[in-house]
């Protein structure tokens, strides 16, 4: 059994409706987690509030463990799931740009929308900034085209790259996640507490 879309359970149009509902739910829970406030998000970078890290890693390991167990039980065919192709250098540079923007603006793209629709002015400004950034990117694309595809590695995954079983990779990531939870809380204790 593959993902519903690939199995042809619903058409592209229905897919859009489902995407809209999923997106709305995603936004709702981001807001409920407090991710509509740039203050809370920015505290992450001062090690005072590691909620973002914890929430994101929870999402990652939940999805990972869930999918792998489903695959183990034969409920889902993982080979049918779309894998984002890797462009190593492009993604390292892109990640750094995103990180700097995140630290300066206090939002990442998704949460800025959440912030904007809940009426936060900084969220609206951030969103406008992101959009003008897209225009700049589009206009300057020929200049950075080389970078855009730098380090192309195709649909590579960690188990494939290192040639170890996906179970072992999953276990290592779980260990890393637990380490990060513990480490995050330690950092929170050390640097924590809201300051004026």
């Amino acid at each position: 059994m593959g993902p519903f879309y690939k199995m042809g359970f619903f058409s592209e149009q229905t897919g859009f409706v489902i995407a809209l509902l999923t997106g709305a739910a995603f936004g709702f829970w981001l807001e409920r987690a407090g991710f509509g406030q740039s203050r809370k998000l920015a505290l992450q970078f001062y090690f005072r509030d590691m909620t973002v890290l914890k929430v994101m890693f929870t999402a990652i390991i939940t999805a990972m463990v869930g999918l792998l167990y489903f695959s183990l039980f034969g409920w889902i065919d993982l080979s049918m799931i779309y894998i984002n192709p890797t462009f190593l250098w492009a993604q390292i540079v892109g990640g750094l740009v995103l990180g700097v923007g995140f630290a300066i603006g206090g939002y990442c793209p998704g949460t800025s929308v959440v912030g904007a629709v809940t009426g936060r002015i900084d969220g609206i400004v951030f969103l406008l900034g992101a959009m003008s950034g897209m225009i700049v990117f589009g206009e300057f694309f020929p200049l950075i085209e080389k970078l855009y595809t730098a380090g192309s590695m195709g649909d590579i995954t960690l188990p494939k790259y290192f040639n170890i079983s996906s179970g072992i990779v999953a276990f290592i990531i779980l260990l890393a996640a637990v380490g990060m939870f513990v480490g995050g809380e330690w950092l929170e204790k050390k640097f924590g507490g809201e300051e004026a």
Partner: protein
């Protein structure tokens, strides 16, 4: 000593991970897709790559594609699509062992028509290769498309005219030297239209992000 909820959670998590680490995950994964499902999928347009689309990728030197010519040795040496590799139909099931084959790239099968390529497509899908497509109409259509493109008739749109001009201009490259000699004069005049950059086949998936 009191055991906190967090410790219990972490222990369960690590236990789940340990089970995964020793489970036969990678052997379970390659489940055969039923032939019936594949036959149904073969009817869909999304399985086919149009000649113009492929020509554009070749011109763009798209690093993410590879073209496998599954016709006979004779046909292949006679003429083949630029950049294509030769894997005869009879050896298609060994494709994964071939040095020429790169599983991270999108594979496009080219035969004379659609039938052979369709059979190869089903075979490869069942072998668990997922990124496989078929050149619509095969080499027959390909040659026809670029050797003698039909000028749009009557009231035509800009798009139709562009397509015509593109085929005309791309023809020299796409058909190689053997066939281009006859139309050399015309072809040198025809300026290739500016290449409109197209990202690798939009997979109809939105990138995810936080």
């Amino acid at each position: 000593m009191q055991i906190s909820l967090k410790t219990i959670g972490f222990s369960i998590l690590l236990l789940l991970g340990l089970i995964l680490a020793f489970s036969p995950l990678d052997t379970v994964r390659k489940e055969q897709i039923p032939t019936k499902t594949l036959l149904e999928e073969l009817q869909k347009e999304s399985v086919y790559v149009q000649a113009d689309e492929l020509a554009q990728w070749i011109i763009d030197k798209d690093p993410g594609i590879q073209i496998a010519d599954i016709r006979s040795e004779k046909d292949f040496s006679n003429y083949h699509i630029p950049e294509s590799i030769h894997i005869p139909f009879g050896q298609i099931e060994n494709i994964e062992k071939s040095d020429l084959f790169d599983e991270t790239k999108m594979l496009i099968l080219a035969s004379n028509g659609n039938t052979r390529a369709g059979q190869a497509w089903i075979l490869l899908k069942q072998l668990g290769i997922k990124d496989v497509y078929i050149l619509a109409g095969g080499l027959n259509h390909w040659v026809q498309n670029f050797s003698n493109p039909e000028h749009p008739k009557g009231a035509y749109t800009d798009d139709e005219l562009f397509t015509y001009q593109f085929r005309k201009a791309a023809g020299t490259v796409m058909l190689g030297q053997t066939l281009s000699v006859a139309q050399d004069n015309k072809a040198t005049d025809a300026k290739p239209k500016p290449i409109r950059r197209k990202r690798k086949k939009a997979k109809k998936k939105v990138d995810e992000g936080c």
